[in-house]
Amino acid sequence: MAMRKGLSPVTVTALAGGLAFLYVPLILLVIYSFNDSRLVTVWGGWSTRWYLGLLHNQALMDAAWVSLKVATVAATLATILGTLAALALVRAGAFRGRTLFAGLVYAPLVMPEVITGLALLLLFVAIDFDRGFWTVALAHVTFTMCFVAVIVQSRLLTFDYSLEEAALDLGATPFRAFFSVTLPVILPAVAAGWLLAFTLSLDDLVIANFTAGPGNTTLPMRIYSQVRLGVTPEVNAISTVFIVVITAVVLAASLAMKWQQEKIESR
């Protein structure tokens, strides 16, 4: 029996229901960010004044700046370490303790954030590392690195190793062969890994809460503390900006992966 493909009333309803469940809250938030009224629940006409107000909210702007710095540094370090871990897992063959190593690399994927955060806090206190910018950044490296490793590893599995051998054969040292051939070829996956690490770092509230010091409040922490004093249209506005940024980055990551896929298929 041939399955009928396309949209039937049932599939349309299911799709609409699912999408509504996921996105109605977000859409409401975006709409209310343009609310002229000071009261969150009363509609008072369209306005962009909360967005202009954001620029004058120094505390929020500072937090946004901290978040961007943390995310950039953390994503970059996580990408380097994650790529190295993926290389070790794919290239080194069946070395002693490989399974254990793979398990250790991927454990943070399933580790509850509260535990990761608490453990890091204990460590930083134990070694007397003053909490501040670097503690948040390092904490973010530990939990985003595994995502980079997963993405890069899947790319390396389909990488034609003879490309690297050809580079060696033509006189490139292993170091040069990696940077002039292997890295450019797997770059889309590495870039996608970086973007994913960046958004994960930007989103994180729990781990940052444990590891950030005074004066290094990240944006999610700032928003959270402001909400505890009551939801203002300003919070809606900053959240909308946040949604836009994250969406853009995730879109870029998926485009990078798609572009790589096309490059492979066109061969």
């Binding site: 490309l163 051998e165 060696l168 006189g171 490139a172 061969r267």
Partner: protein
């Protein structure tokens, strides 16, 4: 190949007499000396000693898993020998990494760098040598001309056809003017017509530039077409190293006889030996087998006679005055290939002999058909004695 027609050149025979392996004073360029390669308990290369000479086009032939690729990769530096020595122009290659060997390789997958243009691919090895830019440009142009790909320098590999990619890979591996070029199944990805044409072009190119070429292939026709000498390999051992003619006409073993070309193998026992005349008796044939070959076999030794199908005369009438090297039977299968036909002939005692016949005249009705009674005969120098 497949884009521009080759420029008309003065006809010139490609192969002159070239046999440095027969000259005891000649110094080999490459020497494998008792080379063994083991992977754990598996012996991939089993005590191989082999000399390859300058300007030689050498083929490593064998089925997959026979060790031919391992042998080539040892020369390129991707594998180290477990025992024995490999020398190139007198210097020991052990411990020399691939990027310091004057040997280049053309990969089966071509391994073109997908993010670089054709010109950058060809220039890659030259850049590693830190050759001046102007020299690189000149060399790249020379290589493009050599493989007939001028005008394609700005293309990326995915914008080329299979044949063009093959030529870029060839140009890239020749750009550094290596002492030895290794070719790993270079034509496996090409279709039959293009492959035949490319074989001749490769031969021609090798003659012009004079580089030693070593090709790895499982295709015996390809090896016979291009190579000066062929090494037939089986289970990590060299079975026979000889010219294509010797490999085909004087196989030294059943393995070589059966691997290269089509052949009839007749089991027999030696009856009489006189210099230049060996008589054998086989259960398969009524008549005696006579060979002019010289051999050290003795009366009573078991042996086999290998007989190529094209050396057997097939006809509806018996040749008169033939008492040895003949048989009669019934045709039960015919493969018509156009240029020749292959006949499978059932002998009276059930043995099957294959005989081929060139289709000299145009005939729609075959002169010999199914179920025809036929007479087979061959000369005493047609068969090869194989000791079991």
């Amino acid at each position: 190949m497949d884009s521009q027609p080759a420029k008309p050149q003065k006809p010139q025979s490609v192969r002159r007499k070239f046999e440095p392996w027969a000259d005891p004073a000649a110094q080999p360029l490459i020497r494998f000396q008792s080379v063994v390669k083991r992977y754990g308990d598996v012996v991939a290369i089993d005590d191989v000693s082999l000399d390859i000479y300058e300007r030689e086009f050498f083929a490593l032939l064998g089925p997959s898993g026979c060790g031919k690729t391992t042998l080539m990769r040892m020369l390129a530096g991707f594998e180290e020998a477990s025992e024995g020595r490999i020398t190139l122009a007198g210097s020991d290659l052990s411990g020399v990494p691939p990027y310091r060997r004057p040997v280049n390789m053309m990969f089966q997958s071509y391994a073109l760098f997908p993010h670089m243009t054709v010109a950058d691919n060809i220039a890659f090895g030259l850049k590693q040598e830190r050759m001046p830019k102007s020299e690189i440009a000149a060399r790249v142009d020379e290589m493009l001309k050599l493989v007939n790909l001028r005008g394609f320098e700005k293309r990326k590999p995915h914008q080329l056809s299979g044949g063009q990619r093959q030529r870029v890979a060839l140009a890239r591996s020749l750009a550094k003017r290596p002492k030895v070029l290794l070719l790993d199944e270079p034509m496996a990805a090409l279709d039959k017509k293009l492959r035949e044409q490319t074989q001749f072009e490769l031969m021609d190119l090798q003659q012009r530039i004079g580089t030693t070429f070593i090709i790895v292939t499982h295709d015996q026709e390809e090896a016979m077409t291009v190579a000066d000498r062929i090494a037939v390999m089986d289970h990590g051992k060299l079975v026979q190293v000889a010219t294509p003619t010797e490999i085909y006409e004087q196989p030294n073993s059943r393995y070589v006889a059966e691997f290269v070309g089509d052949i009839n193998i007749i089991e027999a026992v030696v009856e009489r030996v006189t210099p230049g005349d060996i008589a054998l008796k086989s259960n398969a044939l009524e008549a005696e087998l006579r060979l002019t070959q010289r051999s050290d076999v003795k009366t009573g030794d078991p042996a086999a006679v290998a007989l190529r199908p094209e050396k057997i005369r097939i006809g509806k009438e018996p040749l008169s005055e033939v008492h040895a090297n003949c048989a009669q039977g019934v045709v039960y299968d015919i493969a018509y290939l156009g240029d020749l036909s292959i006949y499978h002939v059932h002998l009276e005692n059930g043995f099957v002999l294959k005989a081929t016949k060139t289709n000299i005249s145009r005939q729609i009705e075959p002169p010999i058909g199914w179920d025809d009674k036929v007479y087979l005969s061959w000369t005493p120098d047609a068969g090869v004695l194989l000791k079991s």
